[in-house]
Symmetry: C2
Subunit: 330 residues, 2 copies
């Protein structure tokens, strides 16, 4: 089977066996593990416990940027270059779809199909589902599966609109921000926010008018920020993903960031922050599960709030008491 | 003082007196109450408890759309028309700013200044702060203040990118979706998601080429959806906010939606869902406060996770035990 076709939505009956097969390189089993994590199946926790000690050696690369900057094309080209270096690469593409329609903003995975028959490339789309908490808990779980299964590079690609670029940074060792010249004022206005989370900045479509001006401007913005001695200063590269221009320099810059931050200790502290975010998300998820389990109570309280009989704060305290948290809280 | 200048960030020393003044129409006190709710000050809960029984009579109107469709101009024009009907209007504009920079996507409130000397118009910007939970808890609190203070219409304006359009729907009785012809493919692709949350759809800039085609297409999409007999079917209106064309029809459509859903019971069930979301957010906030209070423990656990000594699931259970939730959970 081709890796990109791996959906793996079927139930896991024997987690131990599926894990063993996934670790041996079986794509279908790897896909099943990710599905189990993504769907928060009963097996998810056992899988996480089993794989956690095996993870930690992959380089997690986040790729983000506004719609239309060429994220898929660039990711695909980078995958090709990493493959030439003999590295095994997994891509998790996060779909910021409408929670109602299952949306399509990132749906076009077509350009990635060139890698679909490569056994050492794993491509997977994950739905954002409109649940930030859900995504925050599922993404590190999916990364862990791929990391433990021996992929050298795990790419998390997400569209850089709103909250998502912040999420990606929490899960990546190195964040690549993609830009393109002439993307319109509103998107350019958002540049500052994207710049602050970027470890490597690339201006794609560097053959277009305005590309070198955009690079100059970005470099000026970056050099204006104070950086502690020895700390990483994000390079700004010009690339053209469709014809391959500047891509090997981009691959080098991404690798350099990893090496430099590993040496300075920044990588370790970023990973600790990532682990803290994950543990916190898992705890929050357990809490939300408790609220879901008390949805009838919540409904009853909400009706009393709309009726003017109860204020929402008292209602929240009552709910927390129901869940078992409140007793010690007040 | 002008209402739009009301920032009210100063501390509330006497919540009872501030509430009393706010209820008498004092802008500065109203602004202070909103700040207290937004900043989750100690007074927030007392304010909420005091105001909850007084709220419920305002018409909460959500306005959303992609950047550049003319949300501010349209909102400003609608405010003018509501004022002509003798209605008192409050606008809460939610800034989807970068959590890092305090961003500027919606910064341009300049067009609203025409109402800044009108005592019966209240305008307030709220920062999204990159915290969805925070926004979910703060927005209904701000709405409640304005509702209880006697504003007839409370507008919640937010940019319709990503998660925000979903948030706005939870807090509004009527959701107005603004579109514009020729906004580019990616944004158009997102139309379906926006359509599903819209109670009234308006195509702004209706003098531009493609406007009537856009309206036709939207009407076709909406009439293709099955609607139960007696249920509201969103009208698609053409407007031109800058020259006022179609705006009185838009005001009428927004009022009709309120009347129709109040009669059918849909308004009540939407408000109950909103109250449930608020109660749930407040409970979640209390839980997250517990996690924050245990941040040292979380840090320690995270370090053990990155060290490969502990898996994140076990770490989450340990954290929950620390918080006092776990005992009854397992």
């Amino acid at each position: 089977m081709t890796s990109s076709a791996a959906s793996g939505s079927s139930r896991i009956t024997d987690p131990e066996e599926t894990v063993a097969r996934a670790l041996q390189g079986d794509r279908r089993s790897q896909a099943r593990l990710i599905s189990a994590v993504e769907e928060r199946s009963e097996a998810a926790e056992a899988i996480g416990r089993r794989l956690a000690p095996l993870a930690g050696s992959a380089h997690i690369v986040g790729i983000t940027g506004a719609p239309g900057v060429g994220k898929s094309t660039t990711t695909s080209a980078l995958v090709g270059l990493w493959r030439k270096q003999g590295l095994r690469v997994a891509v998790v593409a996060i779909d910021p779809s409408s929670p109602f329609t299952g949306g399509a903003l990132l749906g076009d995975r077509v350009r990635m199909t060139e890698h679909s028959t490569d056994r050492d490339v794993f491509i997977r789309s994950m739905a954002a589902r409109g649940q930030l908490g859900g995504l925050s808990a599922a993404t590190p779980g999916a990364i862990r599966v791929l990391d433990a299964c021996g992929f050298d590079v795990v790419v998390v690609e997400t569209v850089g609109v709103g909250q998502n670029e912040v999420d990606v940074v929490r899960f990546a060792d190195t964040v690549l921000i993609l830009m393109a010249p002439g993307m319109g004022d509103r998107i350019q206005a958002n540049k500052a926010g994207l710049l602050e989370i970027g470890d490597v900045i690339a201006v794609n479509k560097s053959d277009r008018p305005g590309a070198s001006a955009a690079r100059r401007e970005l470099r000026a913005m970056i050099s204006a920020k104070p950086v502690a001695p020895g700390d990483w200063r994000p390079p700004v590269l010009g690339i053209s993903a469709t014809d391959g221009k500047g891509l090997s320099e981009l691959v080098d810059a991404i690798a350099e960031h990893y090496t430099a931050t590993a040496a300075s200790g920044q990588l370790a502290s970023r990973r600790a922050a990532r682990a803290a975010a994950e543990v916190s998300s898992l705890a929050e998820e357990a809490f939300m599960g408790r609220i879901d389990a008390n949805s009838e109570k919540l409904k009853e309280l909400a009706t009393r709030v709309t009726g003017g009989e109860l204020d929402p704060y008292t209602a929240a305290h009552t709910l927390l008491t129901e869940i078992g948290l409140e007793r010690e809280m007040r």
